[in-house]
């Protein structure tokens, strides 16, 4: 047995015992798993690597933190209540259309930023109360938001895993829009209708109105929506116009939050933002733990063992691993899955089959994005659950069938890459 496999087993074993038996937080369990792997691998306690690993997600953590501030401002200022009232009163007569439109709203920030977390924490937070109000159970609403955010992350124009995979084989990020739309739109529509439609076929508008705050919109008027409008405009403009200063998602969230302080109901920003950050610190710590884990995984050679073992099992297994191990690797990092597994898998597929490389890369990138549902990290699932005020397990349970549908669509696409090559033009 390879020492690298023993290291991997030690890491997973210590992680599981720490988390499930000793009941330590996921973050600390990941750290102890990483230390165990390093000790078994003869690296001692590699402080430098443990520390460096925590920096893997520093950008993601900043986006999460600033998005939490934005979410707090939009909620406390009253913009969220006003938006909910506006959507429900306009679209309640055509629930299927309303649900699909809401799904696209959830997807939008992910499409622009390439981040499911940004989508969940911005649009997801706006749409969640509407979904709950029209009668969709919390766990299903959370699942809709989680899958919607991931579809947004995977949909064009920005798909970071596709860029990472393409970068690994010198493939320009050109021609991906068609395949990515084909993969994401049917999955998004299926998910929202499958999970939500049966609960909102006969909506009682009078009953709904009694739950809606229609007054706040009248009190503050159009300016109440300014933080949301500023967010959308800055996200779109900074991507559509390369000459526009690149503000970055964090700064855009901060600017939009600042605007929201003056457009609606007054509240204690310092207290509310401190409360919001307190709820998000465990997830940030989890990301740091995952960073340590993957760094040690590489240090002791377990990463190489995983990838080479997959490659050694032949083309059929490479296809199977694409739809099992690759999304599962998302438990560590969906971007990591793209870089570590996506690149060698794409190379093997290109070398051994006469496939369309862009369609294959798009499918691999799409599958990597689904990794954001995988526990323990489950970025999309975690925050969607937090928004609907649930633990993430019931939310993830409701994601299973949409997840399998997404995998099925991806399988169909990867088996027909040449037939779909017209989409890459």
């Amino acid at each position: 047995m390879d020492l690298e496999l023993i290291c991997l087993l030690a890491m997973l074993g210590v992680f599981l015992v720490s988390n499930m038996v000793i009941k330590l937080p996921v973050s600390l369990s990941m750290m102890f798993g990483a230390i165990a792997g390093a000790l078994v691998g003869g690296q001692g306690i590699p402080l430098r690597h443990l520390f460096e690993g925590t920096f893997t997600y520093v950008d993601t953590m900043l986006i999460i933190s600033t998005a939490m501030l934005f979410m707090t401002v939009v909620q406390k200022s009253g913009a969220l209540e006003a938006l909910n009232a506006a959507i429900v009163t306009r679209f309640y007569k055509i629930p299927a259309l309303m649900l699909v439109l809401l799904m696209f709203v959830i997807m939008f920030p992910g499409m622009i930023t390439g981040s499911s977390t940004a989508a969940v924490l911005s649009a997801g937070a706006l749409v969640a109360p509407v979904l709950l109000m029209i009668g969709i159970p919390r766990e299903k609403a959370g699942a809709i938001i989680a899958i919607g955010a991931i579809m947004g992350m995977a949909a064009p124009p920005i798909n970071i895993p596709a860029m990472l995979i393409g970068g690994g084989v010198d493939m320009p990020y050109i021609g991906f829009d068609g395949p990515l739309f084909l993969l994401t739109i049917p999955c998004a529509v299926f998910t929202v209708l499958f999970l939500g439609l049966k609960y909102c076929k006969n909506l009682d508008i009078e009953k709904l109105k009694s739950q809606l705050n229609t007054e706040i919109g009248k009190e503050y008027g159009f300016k109440l929506y300014l933080p949301i409008i500023v967010l959308i405009v800055l996200l779109v403009v900074s991507k559509a116009l390369p000459s526009f200063p690149q503000l970055g998602t964090c700064l855009i969230f901060l600017i939009s939050s600042f605007v929201g302080l003056f457009t609606g109901r007054k509240f204690n920003f310092l207290k509310e933002s401190a409360d919001a950050m307190e709820t998000t610190i465990p997830v940030l710590a989890k990301l740091m733990g995952v960073g340590m884990f993957i760094q040690v995984l590489t240090l002791v050679g377990a990463r190489g063992w995983i990838v080479v073992s997959c490659l050694g099992l032949g083309m059929v297994f490479v296809y199977i691993a694409t739809f099992t191990i690759m999304p599962a690797f998302g438990a560590v990092s969906s971007y990591g899955a793209a870089s570590v597994i996506g690149v060698p898998f794409l190379l093997v597929m290109i070398q051994n089959t006469s496939c369309n490389d862009i369609v294959v890369a798009a499918v691999l990138a799409f599958t990597c994005c689904l990794g954001d549902l995988m526990p323990p990290t489950a970025l999309a699932g975690n925050y969607a659950a937090q928004i609907v005020e649930l633990k993430y397990k019931p939310v993830l349970k409701n994601c299973i069938i949409p997840f399998l549908f997404c995998i099925a669509v991806a399988v169909v696409c990867i088996l027909n890459t040449n037939a779909l090559s017209f989409l890459t033009v």
Binding site: L47, H49, D59, G301, G336, V340, L347
Partner: protein
């Protein structure tokens, strides 16, 4: 007065964190100490890149440019090492030129640390060693194994999507700090774009005839053991291939016209130089390697890559003996010599690197034999 337990534990934890931060701060700061480079007898001058582009002065992007002037009128060549400091054969080959080469005709410019900032950090998740060691006749030399990208303390944050300045091409945001996606550079851009601009300016002002960018790639990469040439330099690459193909196998690839920011594309388009880039196979920067340490960087022996080769998952021959840094440097140096030997100028101004070791001699003696002993 009894101090509450939570205060005591908070104080202890804070002190532990401070101690760790100090220790780790010292560890990471050590990456800012440059490895010694000893100017050999062929070096006639040493300038800084900021001498061509003053915008770099005082930044971590400024870097040494070694000038080896033969004193005989001739052509000029620029060699870039350390565009990606995690590709060590490019760095070591450039250092070997500075310390060993004595041109007999024309002028050789060498930048061993093209992205100086990227030498000062490592990449999270890659777990790479901070240093690697090469044995020389007079003892062990050390070199830093840096990052593929500019240190984030010099340039941060990255945007989600990197938009290449002159073409508008979009790439993953992680490429924002990649020097080999920033050419021809931008005088008022970010630090990486400024470094690229400085190198482009040097090439234009010094009328550099040939520019060679030394790289490495993971053994599973599609472009490896290869020369990538701008269309203007394809003929030179083909001629050089004749000189080296008896010693090792190497392919020639034409620079793609739709992939922007790279030396072999933009320097060929924006300057009059013949732009070439070379890749050797480095197991330590791949995704398939086993445990990573200095010896993997230098010896290149890795059982997982050997296995992957049996599965057909790598693009170069990779056996149990691996691909060591000596062979990788010997490939680079042999091709550089061949480029000079085969350069056919219209003005009859040639370039000669002088008495350089052959591929076989380098493989037999080891690259350390051609490096200065540590002082």
């Amino acid at each position: 007065m009894k101090i509450p337990k939570h205060i005591i534990s908070a104080v202890i934890l804070t002190l532990v964190v401070i101690a760790l931060v100090v220790y780790l701060g010292i560890t990471f700061s050590s990456m800012r100490n440059p490895e010694p480079i000893y100017a050999g007898e062929g070096v006639t001058d040493m300038k800084m890149l900021s001498d061509w582009f003053p915008g770099l002065k005082g930044t971590n992007g400024d870097t040494e440019v070694y000038i080896l002037d033969s004193g005989v009128e001739g052509a000029s060549m620029l060699v870039l090492g350390g565009t990606h400091p995690n590709e060590p054969s490019g760095v070591v080959s450039a250092v070997m030129l500075v310390e060993y080469c004595q041109p007999e005709e024309g002028i050789l410019y060498v930048i061993p640390r093209a992205n100086n900032s990227a030498f000062t950090c490592t990449d999270p998740q890659e777990a790479a060693p901070m240093k690697y060691f090469i044995e020389t006749d007079g003892g062990e030399r050390w070199f830093r194994f840096g990052s593929r990208a500019t240190n984030p303390t010099d340039q941060w944050p990255d945007s989600e999507v990197y938009v290449h300045a002159s073409s508008g091409q979009t790439l993953s945001g992680s490429e924002t700090r990649n020097l080999n996606r920033a050419y021809p550079g931008k005088a008022n851009g970010n630090l990486t774009e400024m470094i690229a601009y400085g190198i482009t300016t040097l090439i234009n002002e010094e009328n550099i005839d040939i520019t060679v960018d030394l790289h490495e790639a993971s053994p599973e990469y599609t472009t490896v053991n290869a020369i990538v040439a701008h269309e203007n330099a394809i003929e030179l690459a083909n001629m050089a291939l004749w000189d080296v193909e008896d010693y090792f196998s190497i392919s020639i690839e034409k620079s793609p016209t739709n992939l922007h920011g790279l030396t072999h594309r933009e320097l060929g388009d924006y300057t009059d130089t013949l732009a070439l880039l070379m890749e050797t196979a480095n197991a330590s920067q791949g995704r398939l390697h086993g445990a990573i340490h200095s010896s993997l960087v230098v010896d290149g022996v890795d059982k997982f890559y050997a296995r992957a080769a049996q599965y057909g998952a790598v693009t170069v021959p990779f056996g149990e003996d691996g691909i060591g840094i000596t062979e990788r440097c010997a490939r680079h140096i042999s091709c550089l010599v061949a480029f000079c030997d085969e350069y056919l100028p219209e003005d009859d101004l040639y370039i000669s690197l002088g008495d350089m070791p052959s591929f076989d001699e380098m493989v037999e003696n080891g690259i350390g034999a051609y490096l200065h002993s540590p002082e």
